[in-house]
Symmetry: C2
């Protein structure tokens, strides 16, 4: 009999490698196989075998955090887990499509992504445009499987959260503000607003989609929402820091491009040291919000917040 009542040390590395395997397998099974050949190839190139999969891990960690409220119905529990895996893949597809379009010549004109030629370099601009469009549609297709045990209410809620996070009041809106901000002096509030939309909305949406793959009461949702907002902003602050401190080999993409494009960043606004302190403070906000949820096990979410701030690429 084990009399040690302390919770076991959380093995985040084991946790994430186990969940990453599930996500990679699911993406490989779901992306581009029923598409016309060239399009399917471009879709799979854009999605498979690359990326940190931060958003899918946030979905799955949030799902695990709320699983304590599942109740005794094993079939329902299984359907929630299925919903969460689909949601994890769906947010990654939205993220992947945004990178494909963002890299195109009329946007950032980037030729390198995750150490590989970008999709339009590899497949041509027209195919890249279509692949991005098809990936966005596929995200919603994954969330609404026919003949599935996932309750319709969960399917509809996941679509609602994803559409809002991806659209003009979320990611696409943030990109439009970004577009209009090149060479413009933003203050910190304006910069924060842009990033809340551009990257924050989908990161926060990932957390809320994980929570929506199951039951979560209002207090839990509010705590997770605050966690997601703080983590989303921390992610962007660290991104800005890495853009000036890391090299292209570590980043897997072109470094220093924000400064080269005269884009406002947290580093240009706050300086490197204050930007680093800001990232730490946001991580602490995220961790404090987890405590307010009262959920019995939020260790994976906590570890993800720490990972986001400590990452080197």
């Amino acid at each position: 009999m084990n009399l040690d009542t302390r919770p076991p040390i959380f093995d985040f590395s084991g946790w994430s490698s186990q969940h990453l395997t599930r996500v990679e397998q699911a993406l490989s099974q779901w992306v581009g196989l029923d598409a016309p050949a060239g399009l399917g190839e471009a879709m799979r190139y854009a999605v498979l075998d690359g990326g940190k999969r931060l958003r899918p891990l946030l979905v799955l960690a949030a799902r695990e955090a709320v699983a304590s409220a599942d109740g005794p119905d094993a079939a329902l529990r299984a359907s929630y887990n299925d919903a969460a895996l689909r949601a994890a893949c769906a947010v990654e597809l939205i993220h992947a499509y945004s990178l494909v379009h963002d890299d195109m010549p009329c946007m950032d004109n980037d030729v390198l992504r995750r150490g590989k030629p970008t999709v339009h370099v590899q497949f041509g601009q027209a195919q890249a445009l279509l692949a991005g469009d098809a990936l966005q549609a596929l995200a919603f297709e994954l969330l609404t499987p026919d003949d599935s045990a996932i309750p319709a209410g969960v399917q509809a809620r996941l679509c609602r959260l994803l559409a809002r996070a991806a659209g003009s009041a979320g990611m696409a809106g943030g990109q439009a503000i970004d577009l209009a901000s090149v060479g413009v002096a933003l203050n910190e509030a304006q910069l924060r607003h842009m990033h809340r939309l551009k990257t924050g909305a989908l990161l926060q949406g990932s957390v809320l989609m994980g929570a929506a793959s199951g039951h979560a009461d209002a207090a839990v949702l509010e705590g997770l929402s605050t966690y997601g907002a703080a983590l989303g902003l921390a992610f962007q602050v660290v991104d800005d820091i890495l853009d000036v401190t890391a090299d292209a080999a570590t980043l897997g993409k072109t470094a220093g491009k924000d400064a080269a494009h005269d884009k406002p960043t947290y580093v240009s606004l706050l300086g490197l040291e204050r930007a680093q302190a800001h990232a730490q403070a946001l991580r602490d906000q995220a961790l404090a919000a987890l405590v307010t949820t009262g959920l019995p096990d939020t260790r994976a979410l906590a570890a993800l917040a720490t990972t986001v701030v400590n990452r080197s690429h």
Copy 2:
């Protein structure tokens, strides 16, 4: 007392102008108002005050056709009508985004659409790309309103139908096949397959989404599905015919561009006369399929099939 038991003559012109007013008002209320200024303007420019609105009318006509099975619950009936109006706008947003992206220089490089400069000419390529992306997300947002009386099952079904119609096994897939077909000799089966995806999937999806905004049994769905497939193909055959017989002023877009781009069309494959006969035959198939549904009133759907084949632009 009126002893004339013949159904009254269907006033299609009155029917469509009434429904078009509803669609225009709803689109104007729902598109781009909560987006950052430049993006919202581009989204509204792409969607408002233009287009035949064929897809929304198909949704609303199909909804009316299945309304006879609504049952006595007035609140439920109202929620179905709300769902149908949202679905009507959602399919139009998908159609509109596809035109914005399709017109871009890396695709068809068209400068004129509905008699106006295309979105990328008016707002720049980056904004056009983002506006298209945001319109696709908005389509799914419209289908999943929060705090709405629309049953979650209807919301999920509408998202499912739209995602499949828009994605790599539907519209985007058809565009990819089209892209790969320039200068390639397609036979009729290959041409039909391309068009079934490129334009047919969304037209058929519109009909099915109208039917999904309410109750429809399997026989009804099968009949409406056949109707939608025949109408979708007829639409494309007529498009090919108009591309060689109409001028740009009537079309509101560049005429003769298929031939100029060496794209395979029904006219290049069958000749003008046989293409015209084919369009008539497809209309007859569509009308026959309506009869198989056993629905009491499919006059709006029938009138739409005739309009599609007889249109001059």
